[in-house]
Point group: C2
């Protein structure tokens, strides 16, 4: 009826979560029925379909949503451009970021011997899957390029998207390697006076940058910029600097909340101390500690016993780490706002591209 | 001295094995010191260098060598072209095929729980590596694209190479998945009368095509064709058909030798019957067998006991599988020679591109 038509709300823009999610089933159907491998469908389609539905949606989808959200800020709707079709494309591209993340997470859970992910058993933990999950993680990676080829092959920025993905995959894989090697080295010397010798800010910064920030913060924005036809290399460099800084801050906060957050708010009890993580908190503690305090920290860090954890936490209190974090947080804000002003001054990228990200993560408590 | 200069042999062409191998150390050095990740070098270079040297060279390198060998046939040396530089590039490209294979093998060995590879412990079996080997296999994959980007970015066929690699990676990963799922299904029903119901020629053909033929036979040739500037889509289609047929024949022979080869010549004792492999031999046996014989095969296939293996081998003899193989082999040869004639007639690809491959694999005994 006309009345209903008038009162029905406008279609959600694809940067909206439920609308973004609604694109997934048809993408999954296309991927499980890849037209270049017709003879495999009877054998493989249902497996790939299960894999995709189990491992890809279900997260917060912030990374994927960032692509259409950024694109919308870069190319605002106007009577002269066919925005809705482009926004649809940007959302499809957003799903490639989610697929890339699923690829990393399925593999990471095997390597970390994790048990659950997003409230359900990890994919490799399912009885019929096992170590075949590793090949499944690579299937997820191939889906990234199937989508890019299907939807973007005739676009002038097709090669840019391929290069963005390949480069960020490399960086993330290197970051994983660094993280694994660092954890392995720590296990070898745990409980010994030299156990924390390798935990310095340079290692911490490198792990965060490569393992997390590139794919979570840089990739969605740089792909949206390529879709929007931005060419200025200075803008890309500036965006990279800002987004890696935000990624760094994001992880520092994660580490802070793991130790000092309120479990009633965060929804989880932190275990970074017990797990012997190269956390920002322990790195900063080591920077401030006397030789004697360093020694105590080294002897007790990475232990599951309550007593050891208490020794570490008491030392954190003595060293004033909450204050150190608060100072870092406010200095970070001043610096990042300045960088955003510099990068965006007189350029085709509005500040909101970065401040939107910033507002989502700044002073979060969970 | 002039005498020495005169008598020294000309430089080996890069399609020669030792000359091909001599390119590897400098490629490995560049890959372990990737200029885009300078801040990671102190943490990661030595790990990546060990990974590359341990897992990449050391095989027969037939796949890698095929790229310069094919290129040389497509663009024969002449006074008007600067062949030596191009041949060098073709060899560099050959190493990307070897890296791709190393990526697959490192991961496959973990999933198959293999112990040795090329006469040394598998990479994941090394004490300091373990499941981190998964991530290392992905590092090998990223190296493929680092090399392509470094050496081919300004070439007109750069995008073609990227698409060749991405497509073949997808196919191989799908083939692995099909192989794993088939093996898993068989384990579930082993020793039961229906255990071989899923072993048919369509499944066999699909596994071989996707898991092996695309990356081993099709990829090296298609990349050399792209380097040579060939554009005719019919030629690419024709080459694909021929190379996948050769790949199929190659695997059939592998399966034949596993069962009927002379261990003194092949250097190994076959275990496909014991392992319950979906081998060409068992698929052909099932095609020829009566219901009663099928039943016997199903009850005894995939068992480690000598008695079960003997039952299976006796049945193979009764069914005349050696003869069936010989007939297949000669029919294959007639067919493939005909296809090669058809595809190459009046085209820019000489028959030798395919017959060279064929001669290397036809009627091999090991
Ligand atoms: Mg993990
Ligand atoms: Mg991990
Ligand atoms: Mg954390
Ligand atoms: Mg294997
Ligand atoms: Mg295998
Ligand atoms: Mg074999």
């Amino acid at each position: 009826t006309p009345v209903r038509l008038l009162s029905s709300p406008p279609l959600d823009p694809p940067s909206d979560k439920s609308s973004f999610l609604s694109l997934f089933p048809s993408l999954a159907t296309s991927l499980s029925n890849d037209p270049t491998t017709q003879d495999l469908h009877p054998h493989l389609s249902s497996h790939i379909s299960s894999l995709l539905h189990y491992t890809v949606p279900g997260g917060k989808m912030n990374r994927g949503l960032s692509v259409p959200a950024t694109y919308q800020l870069l190319v605002p709707p106007s009577p002269t451009n066919t925005t809705s079709q482009q926004l649809h494309l940007a959302s499809v591209l957003g799903w490639t970021v989610e697929l890339l993340q699923a690829f990393f997470l399925v593999a990471d859970d095997i390597m970390d011997e994790s048990v659950t992910r997003r409230g359900q058993p990890c994919w490799y933990k399912k009885q019929e899957i096992g170590l075949g999950a590793f090949n499944d993680s690579i299937i997820l990676e191939t889906c990234v390029y199937s989508i890019i080829r299907t939807h973007f092959r005739s676009e002038p920025y097709y090669l840019d998207l391929l290069e963005n993905m390949l480069e960020v995959t490399k960086f993330t894989t290197y970051g994983q390697s660094l993280d694994t090697l660092s954890a392995h080295n720590f296990t070898q010397v745990k409980g010994q006076p030299n156990s924390l010798d390798s935990f310095d800010m340079s290692r911490y910064t490198a792990i965060v940058k490569y393992k997390t920030s590139y794919y979570s913060f840089y990739l969605p924005v740089v792909m949206a910029m390529n879709m929007a036809g931005i060419k200025d290399p200075e803008l890309f460099e500036g965006a990279k600097t800002i987004l890696l800084e935000i990624g760094h801050y994001f992880q520092v906060t994660d580490d802070f909340l793991d130790c000092f957050g309120d479990p009633a708010v965060t929804g989880k009890v932190g275990t970074d101390i017990q797990d012997g993580k190269c956390s920002w908190i322990v790195v900063k503690a080591l920077e401030k500690a006397s030789d004697e305090q360093k020694n105590i920290l080294a002897l007790h860090y990475g232990s599951q016993t309550e007593e050891d954890v208490k020794v570490v936490k008491d030392l954190y209190d003595q060293l004033g780490l909450v204050e150190i974090y608060k100072t870092y947080e406010s200095e970070f804000y001043t610096d990042i706002m300045e960088h955003i002003e510099e990068v965006c001054a007189g350029k085709a990228v509005p500040k909101e591209v970065f401040t939107t990200f910033l507002n989502k993560v700044y002073k979060r408590t969970k």
